[in-house]
């Protein structure tokens, strides 16, 4: 039996936990091979708690556990805990964690069986779509730090941050909408049922008693629709009027109230049955439209600020005593300890150690920069390499990076600068309807005053722009869904409408139009022989530095040399002996100590020396996204373009070749410069679209009319923006913009359809002939035809444009 297993294992060693290929079977337990000690430890832990069913639901469900379990003792700080937990009564505490690693049914299973690890955990419940787990535990039996430690030790490290739970508000809002739709739908159905005798003109056969009972029942059913379900339209109309602005909800509110009061009067005076069926139907359809428009992406967050990316606690040292404190307690002048791969939370001066800072998080530039003792290091960088000590010089919220969030772009609620189409139309619409009503009133007062009331109210009822109000949510809602399928996630319908209006497109450079994973490499110097190439490739094979990886992919040779005395000096370079020759690869200063240090070197370079002789250097250029040229070809004659880069102008010449001549290019732009650039354009009445990726674009993204954040992994990283675009869909950008414009045209077309219905209705209404039956047919019919028209055309056009 053992032979058989080892045979299977020999062909390909697959980690039982995470499914990655294992180099050998060093880590082996119960006939299962693991790729690393981390995975094996997780397995052992599950095994000892009899939870190996984890591996039964999915094959290799785990994620590679490369980082050791961290120390979470800072979480036991009561002040910090108060901010994190949902609820506590002293004996039971509930807390919700965001677990980005959740990806399969095994994950759900293990996260819901946490209580088997520790009796202090009472219950845990996973929400797969939101990637959240809420845990109930007894704080007197298990500390919060131990709960998080447990999650980390089984490979589900929660992402901890102190951002306010804005999502909760939206979920409450959705719930309310469900209530309102439920009630409106219920009343609508029943009112229709009770109105059937009226529809079928069998009134004569129905006794007056019953007719009266039915109409009172209808009135009763209409009450919750009028007072509860439609309340939002009244409050929105009121808000609009208070700001002297007629939005689409004003004519709707007028229509709804006239419908209700006229029907009320008719029923009470027993002169008719009223239009309660139209009222309930109208509100029901409008609410459905709202639901359709409220497409939300559970795991995406469009409101993130720097706090989501910063740790919630940092390690400080005082008299060589290390202590972990919550980030908001960090003050100026404290001594920070930053370990490998940790983020520097505030501007500080390097005191001890070799800093090698990766600013990819801020600028998108992947190559780390070296800093020396006494240098100022800006917040947002990640230390790569050994431990460093820093002294803070600014408060976290006042650093070069985070200061951006004090700008009023982030504190004020973003308001669209352009009025939405529906609101613009409804202004004229309302005035025209009121004018027709007034004219009708005058005419009937002179000719037949008895009809005046009927005719005027009928006009206001039939003119209620339900079809108008429905066309926008259905068109834009459908457009958002189509975009979502193509990995372009838009925050709300208003953003789609703004996208249709843009005339200026501003690109960030690094990470947005360049491909972060790739770089173009040029070798300059003596030609390398195949032998030398092989030597260099063997050397870089041992390093995980991004530049080493790129050189490794660049060289065409077989890395078959055996190396000895390998050394990697963070921030400097690599060295090793190969065939008794000393090979050095790294910065100019590392290769040749006498060379002048040139920290602001324009292009990134890696020098090679073999046995003390410099043979040449590798130069790194940005690699632009493959689809960039094609994208630019599509948009360059329709929009004015700009490029804003935080980088030096080394790429200017290359960019000029790719971008059209008129393109404005700015380099060395700080986050604030980018924001101001957008403001200047907006003051010139330009509708701007900003496309960026890093935190340094956050201000510009928030300020621009539409901010698109490009992301390699949409769940990972995105500063506050209107929409998130998966980088794989970058080539479809022109299609998205033109489709947004098309959606606007579809909305206009559906406006025309709804006006035609209104004209028919008005024809009856001005004559005082609008019977409840005609209203009950016309109003739903116009709504349904608009919904069908918009859904059909958006889908058809999306298919034509290859978006579906």
């Amino acid at each position: 039996m053992p032979e058989e297993i080892s045979h299977i294992v020999d062909s390909k060693l697959i980690c039982y936990h995470c499914g990655e290929e294992c180099p050998d079977d060093t880590y082996k337990l119960n006939d299962n091979v693991f790729c690393c000690n981390g995975c094996k430890t997780v397995y052992e832990m599950l095994k000892s708690n009899d939870l190996c069913d984890y591996y039964a639901y999915e094959e290799t469900p785990g994620l590679k556990k490369s980082e050791p379990v961290r120390n979470y003792s800072y979480l036991d700080d009561p002040e910090l805990q108060e901010k994190l937990i949902d609820f506590t009564d002293g004996t039971i505490t509930t807390i919700t964690f965001f677990i980005p690693q959740m990806h399969c049914s095994s994950c759900i299973w293990i996260l819901e069986n946490l209580y088997k690890f520790n009796p202090g955990i009472i219950e845990s419940k996973a929400d797969f779509l939101k990637k959240k787990v809420s845990i109930k535990y007894a704080p007197d039996k298990i500390l919060l730090s131990k709960v998080v430690e447990l999650l980390d030790s089984i490979g589900y490290e929660p992402s901890l941050n102190l951002e306010a739970e804005e999502k909760e508000v939206s979920s409450d809002h959705t719930k309310k909408l469900y209530y309102k739709i439920g009630i409106a739908g219920f009343c609508f159905g029943n009112i229709m049922l009770l109105s059937f005798p009226e529809y079928l003109s069998i009134v004569d056969q129905v006794t007056d008693d019953i007719k009266q009972i039915f109409s009172f029942l209808n009135l009763l059913l209409a009450l919750p629709v009028f007072f509860y379900s439609s309340s939002e339209y009244f409050s929105s109309a009121y808000k609009g009027l208070k700001r002297k602005f007629i939005n689409i909800d004003v004519p709707i509110a007028i229509g709804i109230s006239i419908l209700f009061f006229r029907s009320l009067i008719e029923v009470i005076l027993q002169t008719g049955v009223g239009y309660f069926d139209s009222l309930a139907g109208l509100v029901f359809f409008l609410l459905i439209g709202r639901l359709f428009q409220n497409k939300t992406y559970d795991t995406l967050n469009f409101e993130r600020n720097y706090k989501s990316y910063f740790p919630i606690a940092v390690t400080i040292t005082k008299n060589s005593n290390e202590k972990t404190i919550p980030l908001d307690k960090l003050r100026v002048g404290q001594r920070l300890v930053i370990k490998n791969n940790e983020l520097i939370p505030t501007d500080s001066v390097l005191i001890k150690g070799t800093a090698n800072i990766d600013y990819s998080f801020v600028t998108g530039e992947a190559a780390p920069v070296e800093r020396k003792n006494g240098d100022l290091i800006y917040a947002g960088g990640k230390q790569i390499g050994g431990l460093i000590e820093l002294e803070t010089v600014k408060e976290v919220s006042q650093s070069y990076l985070t200061e951006l969030w004090n700008d009023k772009v982030f504190t004020d609620k973003k308001e669209s600068r352009t009025t939405s189409l529906a609101n613009m139309v409804s202004k004229y619409f309302t005035f025209i309807v009121l004018a027709i009503a007034a004219a009708t009133a005058v005419y009937w007062l002179l000719n037949d005053p008895a009809i005046t009331f009927n005719a005027v109210t009928a006009i206001l009822i039939i003119a209620c722009p339900c079809a108008l109000a429905l066309s926008t949510p259905f068109t834009l809602g459908n457009t958002m869904r189509i975009f979502g399928r193509n990995k372009f996630y838009v925050k709300n319908a208003a953003a789609v409408e703004n996208l249709a209006n843009i005339d200026t497109i501003i690109f960030d450079k690094t990470g947005t139009i360049t491909d972060a994973d790739k770089a173009e490499i040029k070798y300059e110097g003596e030609d390398l022989s195949d032998e030398q190439k092989s030597i260099i490739k063997s050397l870089v094979k041992n390093s995980s530095h991004p530049l080493s990886r790129k050189i490794f992919n660049f060289l065409e040779a077989i890395p078959d040399k055996s190396i000895t005395d390998f050394m990697e000096i963070p921030g400097k370079g690599l060295q090793a002996f190969i065939d008794d020759k000393l090979i050095k690869l790294g910065s100019e200063g590392f290769i040749n100590p006498d060379a002048p240090i040139n920290p602001t070197g324009i292009t990134t370079q890696v020098f090679v020396s073999i046995n003390g002789r410099v043979t040449g250097c590798f130069k790194f250029f940005n690699s632009y996204r493959k689809s960039l040229k094609q994208v630019l070809a599509n948009i360059s004659n329709k929009y004015s373009l700009s490029v804003l880069s935080g980088d030096n102008p080394s790429e200017k010449e290359r960019l000029k070749k790719i971008f059209p001549d008129r393109t404005e290019m700015k380099f060395n732009q700080s986050p604030h410069d980018k924001l101001n650039y957008i403001s200047t354009l907006q003051s010139k009445n330009k509708n701007t679209l900003m496309i960026g990726d890093g935190l340094n674009d956050a201000g510009a993204l928030a300020k621009s009319d539409v901010g698109i954040s490009i992301s390699e992994n949409v769940n990972n990283f995105s500063p506050a923006c209107d929409s998130i675009l998966d980088s794989n869909s970058f080539d479809m950008l022109p299609a998205f913009i033109s489709f947004a414009k098309l959606s606007k045209k579809i909305i206009i077309a559906s406006f025309i359809i709804s006006f035609l219905y209104n004209l028919v209705g008005l024809f009856f209404a001005v004559q005082g002939l609008l019977s409840p039956l005609i209203a009950a047919i016309l109003m739903p019919l116009s709504s349904i035809s608009v919904v069908v028209f918009t859904s059909f055309t958006t889908t058809a056009f999306a298919k034509m444009k290859g978006l579906l």
Partner: protein, 62 residues
Amino acid sequence: MMVIVVLISASLLVAIGFLAAFLWAVKSGQYDDKYTPAVRILFDDKKKNNETEKDINSEEKK
């Protein structure tokens, strides 16, 4: 004819019952997560599952 009133009120009461059930379902959070419960129901009871797992394993090994 009064029988129709009785019937209508009976049917309305039933319908209100369903409306109440719907509102309760929304309130209790059944619409918050539309995915996880569908997976959760497929998890077997601990003991049973272990045995079947062993059976399958031993069969495979044979």
